[in-house]
């Protein structure tokens, strides 16, 4: 029954995306071409990677508001490394950005685990700290396109079988997360901790430690996204991806990942991100006022969440009724 409902929700989202695309096609038919879809997917890749990390954290009943700031800091450090040592191989820079992102995630995780501070407070604090660190590192200066090496900027754009590396990387992350969530003890522990922390303890799962690992995961993915972001837009400064944490969380919520923890799937996070990606890419071409654009984005998100919330509520009632009957 539960599996069926979950499946339903994702199918619902797919239907919603198709309906959305059909609506857009009415105003801008060129939106519905393979090339256009490939571009939208490529543009959404970074959001997908981030949403996957956020999903793991939200599953454990936590939240990571610092992802965008983490992305900005890791991206800035990657750009600075590249400017200072243009000879450094790009894979090394990517690994450094991921390691730094992971480290920043570890800070969040440790504070949540060892000091028992509410996750929203911890990550709200580190959000400002990470942004502040970028300013301290750079004095507010920008790193610009001509200061980055060509290889640094080229990687995400490189075509492999006609698809940019950026898209391939997000596909790879989706596959990896699919394995982690479904086939590893850690992935199952995320669900257990969020679903029922007390029960999780009795099955031998360390709740704090699991949350710590969720933050490490989201941090590492934010670090990877940091490099991707900076090389894609070929610019790094304090405010990059400002406010993006809200998009990440919105993607998860639209994707049916319950803020209360324990419910959600990789497919949901990906679809949620894609839903937002379609809106973001369609709004510029359907030629409507910027103020209406904001209102449309907001309305669509609320509708999506409302539908999800209803789906969740129904499921909760069913379980309760069963429990009463026993």
């Amino acid at each position: 029954m539960m599996a069926k409902l979950l499946k339903n929700r994702e199918i619902l989202l797919v239907v919603a995306i198709i309906a959305l695309v059909a609506l857009i096609a009415l105003r801008f038919p060129a939106f519905v071409t393979p090339a256009s879809f490939a571009r939208v997917y490529n543009d959404t890749s970074i959001l997908i990677i981030l949403a996957l990390g956020q999903m793991a954290v939200i599953l454990t009943r936590c939240i990571d508001l610092s992802m965008a700031a983490n992305l900005a800091l890791s991206g800035m450090v990657a750009a600075m490394l590249n400017t200072a040592f243009p000879g450094l191989p790009i894979p090394f820079i990517i690994l450094t950005a991921m390691a730094l992102g992971g480290l920043l995630g570890m800070v969040n995780g440790t504070l949540v685990w060892k000091l028992n501070i509410p996750p929203i407070v911890v990550t709200l604090g580190t959000l400002t700290i990470y942004r502040g660190l970028i300013f301290l590192l750079t004095d507010g200066k920008w790193i610009n396109a001509h200061e980055m090496s060509d290889a640094f900027k080229a990687l995400p754009r490189l075509g492999l079988a006609g698809v940019p590396v950026l898209s391939w990387l997000s596909l790879l992350m989706i596959a990896l997360m699919f394995l982690v969530m479904g086939r590893t003890p850690l992935g199952r522990a995320f669900y257990a901790v969020g679903g029922n922390p007390h029960a999780a303890v009795y099955t031998g799962i360390d709740v704090g430690r699991t949350r710590f690992f969720a933050y490490c995961l989201s941090g590492t993915l934010a670090g990877l996204s940091g490099y991707l972001w900076v090389s894609r837009y070929a610019v790094a400064y304090v405010d990059i991806a400002a406010g993006f944490e809200l998009d990440i969380i919105a993607a998860c919520v639209i994707g049916g990942i319950s803020i209360a923890g324990g419910i959600g799937s990789v497919a949901g996070a990906v679809l949620g991100a894609l839903f937002l990606g379609v809106i973001k890419n369609a709004l510029p071409v359907i030629n409507i006022s910027p103020f209406a654009q904001m209102a449309i984005s907001g309305t669509v998100i609320i509708i999506a969440v409302a539908v999800n919330a209803r789906a969740e509520k129904r499921k909760g009632r069913v379980i309760l009724r069963k429990a009463e009957a026993v």
């Binding site: 256009s36 920008w142 610009n144 754009r157 103020f291």
Partner: protein, 329 residues
């Protein structure tokens, strides 16, 4: 830090005094900047020195605090009053905080003007703006038109829909649009000064307007993002990205050809003009609404009701000079 700062100010004063002894007859004009060691202001100093050389009997004292604080500037101004300089031209760290110190200076007969970043009306004789909204509005469409002798579709990529600066410039641009034959402004889109949104809006423009010839982005975040999006779409040579940006941020995109030219103030001209105006005021010119003050090779500046004036058109940067200015700011 405090001690270091006072030491530096003392040293600056000492140096100035020594220089003073050497040329007692020279007029002393102090160029007070937001902080020492900033490329933009070093360039302004270069212009001020140029003006001093041209005038002959002027000595420019280039000074400022070590960090961009109003307190630091007040200290510097007080020491300049003690040195009995003839004029102070200041780019202020705070509109109001400097007013008492500058009033004191004016009471002692020192001519005080502000430039770049102004002080409140009662704290200065006049303020020199680098440019004005009509001049900027005209310049951004001129930049696009200059590279389109046969005309064509042009789109505007602004910051947010509520950004006052950008809206004023775009409105001014639309007023003079008729002067540029064949230039057809098709739409204005808003990138909210976010790199990703500006990039996406540019992609949208490229798709929606296949005949688009130029994108005007009067915002430093937008122009860089638009240039990158045009590069990634393989449209270099077809779509020219122009507008307002900083040379250090745009150098790469000018080199790649995504942007043929863009504009922003020229700090050298600004320092030059501020010094020239200060000299004119020392020479007896009066700063009042409607007055015209001399700025040497930059012509004259006419003051408005607030005793403010605009120096000139924004300065155009292209492949010939962007590298040189990229080192400055």
């Amino acid at each position: 830090m405090k001690i270091l700062k006072s030491l530096m100010v003392t040293a600056a004063v000492a140096v100035a005094l020594m220089a003073n002894a050497a040329h007692a007859e020279n007029k002393k004009i102090a160029l007070v900047v937001k902080a020492l060691g900033i490329g933009f202001f070093e360039a302004a100093n270069k212009g001020a020195q140029e003006a001093a050389k041209e005038l002959g009997d002027v000595e420019v004292i280039y000074t400022g605090p070590t960090s961009t604080t109003a307190e630091g500037q007040i200290e510097v101004i007080n020491s300049l009053i003690a040195q009995k300089v003839d004029a102070i031209a200041v780019s202020a760290n705070d509109t109001d905080a400097l007013v008492p110190a500058l009033k004191k200076a004016m009471d002692r007969g020192i001519k005080v003007i502000s430039w770049d970043s102004g002080v409140a009306k009662e704290g200065r004789l006049m303020h020199l703006n680098p440019s004005s909204s009509p001049l900027i509005g005209n310049m951004i469409i001129k930049l696009a038109a200059d590279n389109l002798p046969e005309g064509g579709d042009v789109a505007v990529l602004s910051a947010s829909a509520t950004a006052t600066n950008q809206n004023t410039w775009i409105a001014e641009m639309k007023k003079v649009q008729g002067n540029y034959k064949g230039i057809n402004v098709v739409t204005t889109v808003y990138g909210d000064d976010l790199a990703d949104k500006s990039y996406r809006e540019t992609q949208g423009l490229i798709q929606s307007y296949p005949n688009l010839k130029a994108i005007i982005a009067p915002t430093s975040v937008g122009i860089v993002a638009a240039a990158q999006a045009v590069t990634d779409a393989g449209k270099i040579g077809q779509i020219n990205v122009t507008g307002l940006g900083l040379p250090s941020e745009m150098a790469g995109h000018v080199k790649s050809g995504a942007s043929k030219s863009f504009a922003i103030w020229n700090p050298i001209d600004l320092g030059y003009s501020a010094t020239m105006i200060a000299y004119d005021l020392i020479g007896g010119a009066e700063a009042k609404p409607g007055a015209e003050l001399k700025m040497g090779r930059m012509g004259t500046v006419k003051l408005d009701d607030n005793n403010e004036g605009a120096m000139a058109d924004p300065f155009v940067y292209d492949a010939s000079n962007v590298e040189e200015f990229a080192k400055i700011f």
